[in-house]
Each structure stands twice: as structure tokens, then as C-alpha cells.
Homo-oligomer: 412 residues x 2
């Protein structure tokens, strides 16, 4: 059997390696559930120990798995543990923001071999941006003497609404020229053997926390990114939930104030228009020019050309009252919108990430207060709201995970 | 093997019949996916035809399945189809509202043998109400010469937050005395062999539409009940989603207007306090007494003691402008709250049920307008919003389904 045979029926699974369904299930259990012993695999599959031994033997022969450390088994005998063969192949994870990108090269166990951060501008369009991304990825593999053909999969998080099956952006508000652009084909020009998986950036961050961070073992949680915009990745019953059109989690355009400003989407008072990094920066400039914030005004006179949410955090830290009020108002609006999602979705955890999450602890405190004041006690009794512990790493970690989870496809 | 053996480890599965995991999986595929041929079962299980034939033989021997009509198979040979043995046992479905109850007796294929509607008042407390419910259920089985011991399962939908695993109500706002009340034990006093499954009423309605109604084959949808309160059942990836504490879908307390009235939950401007049947009735009385609605005022002088949402619908139908405005305002507030859930959850369908859904088509039209005006185009391009086609039957149909789906439990 040629396990590297291609399946052409779906563009997503182009280049995916086809495995018999039981081998695929074993690979999945090791990858996503962290099950490493034959005994535990047999139990989870409801299959006999002999049958699992047979399946595992084939995966060992293919070089997909290898035997690792021995663990004391219950009977006193030592049982060999299973893990992925780190060098079966390599993957690339790409976390693209509106103005920067993080790219990581990882082995088949998910261990990072190298990573690179660069600035870019998604508004330069997909031709320019994806060329930059490919150059960085090619540089990374060259540094580690890995051939482009050894890259089995590439996971990409992109800040816009993604049709996950097709791997294209649909009506992206901040990314002119990207609509329906064939990202997969473009990436495969440099990495001809790779499966290319494209997802929304917040879904990818949620996946990072789910598999490797605070989301491990948490069935239902939200990852809320407060950056240029506001969006949210949803984990339902231990899996990323994308909705019927892939646009689930688009909370940035929920109304926070019906007397609020007009949003770029055309509606009034969207939370993104009032409490995103962009909105906070705009209000900071107004505070500075109106003379309400001496510290923010001083930043401008010191030569900072334009204020950002980061400056607001700094000013608040230096005791600027107007900056502190701005942070509180923004957190409170976000908390109010999240209260509605808590009543609806009843998650047990909300992780806040994105650039604005670095603005200080007051922001988190007012988000929490906003949620608690408007949600029902039953929904919040076990609810934890925190900054994402992975922070800036959630995206690139999730992108690597996304890539690893799409190397194989089950035989139909 | 005694297939009627009890599992005592969880109270939910007390009285459930234990089946080997592969038999359980076959029963599940026939019940929830409507798969009736051995060939299709083999394909879905990824198992050999011979292995499925063996599993099915045991289920036929137990009297759980029977062979039914023959279908033309692809090879020209006729293949026997499988279905449940209708008389393997019987189930009872109970749809409890705040002021009435619908109870159905069904055979093992889900066919209704009899049903009964009665008024009750949940505020009389669980002792009184469950006694009434048991008397009706016992009368129904007596009418059909079925012994109480032949009732294998009872599904109950209740208008309050339910801890699904424990089968008890948690902080029910409109049901004094029901908190943590042992509903299961109480029902088993009359039906000693029955598994008793308790769920929130809207979850049960969503389940009814999912298995037997407009929700068949729809992965992600909402069932919104507008009655005494406002709540919503969530279907995510083809399954009822209950959230981390069982309170998912509690949309009644999402803020619709921050200058709105105080809700019984203590918060301000909850949609339930402004647009539920209770809120519409209260506003109708105000319109009548303020002289703004001549037709509603006339109803009161004609001897109707207190106005309900139904009267508002009638008055609007007779051309009463104030009544029409009240309907439009209520629909619009609900639409605005649903717009937030559409942005967050991206369902492909919203079904509106509950008593207030009988108020007329203008109500549905303004809900639709409210959702469309505040949601993103990507989320609404394939979104269908309709009154529940099952209407009043969704609850009792779902309760029977809930019962049938919990007769068996898989061997651990």
C-alpha cells in the first residue's frame, strides 16, 4: 500500500495521507487525546488488545509511530508506550495578523524546530503577503536542512471569515483582494506535498489552548481576541465549532450601545467599533487632543505619531485618569456583550487574548464585572475568565496543531 | 446474558438496559440516523457485513429489532430491512409547561398510542404536580392495556434550568419547591422499570424538531420558545448542546434595552421582561387602561378578566393599531437579541415556537427584520427563520424521543 497516495476528491484533503479507518482512529486518539498505551487505546476503541496490537504494528512499520519510554503496567510488567515518530515529516504553522505574522516549523510530534516573527500588512494583498510568508517558511526549513518536500502539512490562521472546507476568505472586512483567493494552491507552489489548512485566526488560537494550553480537557470554552477587531473562537464538546457558514464567533458586530458610533459594517454601536484596539486608539487621540489626558497628550508631543491601545495602558499605569476610564469603559462594553454569549452558550471558561489584552489588569477586571453583572448565577457559578496564558503563542501553536491534525485522512 | 440487568453506577442509567457497545451502536444508528439496512449499517460502522449480521442477529433474538419490509437491493436481490420491534416495550413523553401538560404513550418505534392534555400549575409544587402527571400516565396505559412494568423509559421536558445528569431543577425562577426535587425517584414509584430522563422544555422541543421535524439533517439550529418566558434550545453538530452547567440557551435574560424595565432576575431590560407572553400581556393591560387601544379595552368591558398575548393578536387582526405596534416592538426586541446569537453561533435555521408564536405573522416578520438588520451578511445568507412547523407537538414528540434514546446504555 502506498500510504502517501493522494486523494483528489476534496481540495482540503489533497496531499493528505490516506489511512485505513482503524489506523486513522488510533492516530487521532494519540494526537488529540494523548493516549499512548496499547491498553488504553484498546479500551477507548472498544477493541481487543490483539486487534490494537495489529493496527499499531502497521503504524510502526509505516514509520508513523515509534515506541518510546516504558511505563510500569498494572501487572508489574513494563508496557512500551507509543508516540509519533518525530521525523516522519514536518509541518509549518502560520499565525497571520493584520500587521504581522508568526511562523513556526515543527516536527511530527509538534516540537518547534524554529520560529520567526515578521511585520507585514495584509492590505498589501495575497500575492505580496503570501510571497513574504513563503520566503520566511523556506528560510526556516533551510536553516534546519529540511527539504520543502518533507513538509506534510501547513496550518494557517487568518484574521477574517474563512470557508474552512474551501480554504478561502469570504467577505473579509479588513483584507481587500483576499476574497476567494486560492491560498492553498499558492502555498503548494513552494510545498508541493503539503496539505494546506486555512482557518480563522481565533479558531486557531482556541485550538492552541485546547490541545496544549488552558483548554486541555475543557469541553466548552471561548477564546476572545481583542485586537484590531474583536472575535471569538468557540470550543463546543471539545471541538472547534465553526457554525453553518464558518462565521461562528463573530461577536465584534454584536450591538453594545444602540446610541454608539457607526461601525465599518454599517451598523450602529457594534462592540468592535467601541472597544477594539482600533476604537481605543481613536478615543485616545480624541482624549489627547481635547486636553482630557495630559499623559497621552505628552506622548504625542514627545514624537509618537499616533497613539495605540498600548499607550493607553502605559498612561493608565502612570496614573492618567482619562486613560484608566477608557480602559474601564472598553472592558465593560466587552463584558456586557460576553454576558449575552455566556447566557446563550454557558461555557466554563473564557480566555482573553489579542494585543489589547496587554493593556493591564483593570481591563480584565472590568470584563469580568461586566459578565457577572449581566449573566445568570447558574451560568457563572463555575465560569473562569482569564487572559490567555499562552498569549501571543496561542496562534502559532494552534496553527502547528491544525497542520498536524490534517496530515492523515481516513479511508472512505 | 440478562439484557434487563440494571446499572446502578449513575442514577440516570438506573433501569437502562445494558448492551454490548457494538449492539448499542447499531441501535443508535437505527434510532437517531434512520439507517435500516444491514449494508448501510456495515458502511457506517466501518465493519464487515458478516460482523453486522452477527450483531443484528443478537438484537433480533433479544426481540429489540425485527425484520420489516423488503427493499430492492442494488444487486437485484431483495434485502430485508430492520426496524425496532414496536412491542419490545413502551415509553411515556411528558411536556410540562407552566400551566399545562401534554403526555403521550408511545410504542418502541415511537408511534403514539394515546395522548392527553391537561391544565396544571407548576407553582403547586412537585408533589401535587407529579401526582397529577402520574395519574394521567397511569390512565393512558390502562386505556391501552399496558402494564406499568412495560414502561421502559419516561422523557420529561420541564420549564426551568435542569441538571441533565442528575435530573433535577437548579434555581428554577418560576417553580418554587422544585429545586433539587428527586423527579426520577418520584416517577419510578409508579413506573418501577423506567429510565427517567429530565431535560429543559426547549431542549426537548429542539430534539423533537431535530429527529422528526424541520430539524432533520440540519446540523446547527435554534428552537426559540416565546411563552411565559423566553428560552432557546441549541442543536450543534446534530446534537442538543446543553453547556457546561446545563443552562445553555437561556437567552431570556440577555439585555434588549438598557433603559428597559427591571426583570424578575434583578437585571434591567432583559428581553423576557419586555417581549415574553407575560410582558406582552402586561403591556396590553396598560394600553387598555390608558385608552390607547379601544379594542383591548372593549375585551375587558366584555368580561375578559385579564388580557393575554392571544388577545393582542386578536386585536391586531381586528385592526387595532396599538396592538399591532406592541407585536412589532416585541418581535423587534426578540430579533435584536437573536441577531447577537446569530453572529455568535451562525445557525442555519431558527424555529420560533411557544404560545406567543400564535400571535400572527407580523410577529415573525419583525423578528426576521430584527435579525437581518443586525447580523452580518455571511451569517444570514443561508439562514431560515420560521415558526416551528411542529408547533405544540414539538415538546411531547421530543419527550417521547428523549425517552426512546435512553432505553439502552452501552457496556463500559
Amino acid at each position: 500500500m502506498n500510504i502517501h497516495s493522494e486523494r483528489l476528491s476534496s481540495d482540503l484533503s489533497k496531499n493528505s495521507i490516506t489511512l485505513p479507518s482503524q489506523q486513522h482512529r488510533v492516530v487521532d486518539l494519540i494526537r488529540t487525546d494523548g493516549i499512548h498505551s496499547r491498553t488504553d487505546l484498546a479500551q477507548r476503541l472498544g477493541a481487543s488488545r490483539a486487534s490494537v496490537t495489529g493496527i499499531v504494528r502497521e503504524l510502526l512499520e509505516h514509520g508513523i509511530l515509534e515506541e518510546t519510554t516504558e511505563a510500569e503496567s498494572t501487572g508489574g510488567r513494563r508496557a512500551k508506550m507509543l508516540d509519533f515518530n518525530a521525523d516522519f515529516g514536518y509541518v509549518i504553522g502560520i499565525d497571520m495578523g493584520a500587521t504581522s505574522v508568526d511562523i513556526a516549523l515543527a516536527d511530527f510530534r509538534g516540537g518547534f524546530l524554529g520560529r520567526h516573527h515578521a511585520t507585514l500588512d495584509v492590505s498589501d494583498g495575497p500575492d505580496v503577503v503570501l510571497k513574504q510568508v513563503q520566503e520566511i517558511a523556506l528560510m526556516l526549513i533551510a536553516q534546519h536542512n529540511i527539504a520543502a518536500e518533507a513538509i506534510l502539512s501547513i496550518g494557517i490562521g487568518i484574521p477574517g471569515p474563512v470557508d474552512f472546507t474551501k480554504g478561502v476568505l469570504v467577505s473579509p472586512p479588513i483584507m481587500p483582494g483576499w476574497e476567494q483567493y486560492p491560498i492553498r494552491q499558492r502555498m503548494r507552489e513552494s510545498f508541493s506535498n503539503a496539505t494546506v489548512v486555512v482557518d480563522n485566526d481565533v479558531n486557531v488560537m482556541a485550538l492552541g489552548e485546547l490541545r496544549s494550553g488552558a483548554g486541555k480537557g475543557v469541553d466548552n470554552f471561548l477564546f476572545v481576541k481583542v485586537g484590531t477587531g474583536i472575535g471569538c473562537g468557540i470550543v463546543a464538546r471539545g471541538e472547534i465549532y465553526r457554525g453553518s457558514d464558518g462565521s461562528a464567533g463573530d461577536i465584534g458586530h454584536i450591538q453594545a450601545d444602540r446610541d454608539g458610533p457607526v461601525c465599518h459594517c454599517g451598523n450602529i454601536g457594534c462592540v468592535e467599533a467601541m472597544a477594539s484596539g482600533t476604537a481605543i486608539a481613536r478615543q485616545a487621540m480624541q482624549l489627547a487632543s481635547a486636553g482630557s489626558s495630559p499623559i497621552l497628550a505628552q506622548y504625542l508631543t514627545e514624537g509618537i505619531p499616533t497613539l495605540t491601545a498600548k499607550h493607553v495602558g502605559q498612561a493608565a499605569h502612570q496614573g492618567d485618569q482619562a486613560a484608566m476610564e477608557l480602559i474601564k469603559t472598553s472592558g465593560s462594553l466587552i463584558g456586557q456583550v460576553l454576558a449575552g454569549t455566556v447566557n446563550f452558550f454557558n461555557p466554563s471558561m473564557i480566555l482573553i487574548g489579542g494585543g489589547v489584552s496587554k493593556i493591564g489588569s483593570q481591563f480584565l477586571a472590568t470584563i469580568r464585572r461586566g459578565v457577572l453583572s449581566r449573566s445568570l448565577p447558574l451560568s457563572t457559578q463555575h465560569l473562569r475568565i482569564d487572559y490567555s496564558p499562552m498569549g501571543d503563542d496561542a496562534g502559532v501553536t494552534g496553527a502547528v496543531t491544525l497542520a498536524l491534525e490534517h496530515v492523515f485522512i481516513a479511508q472512505a
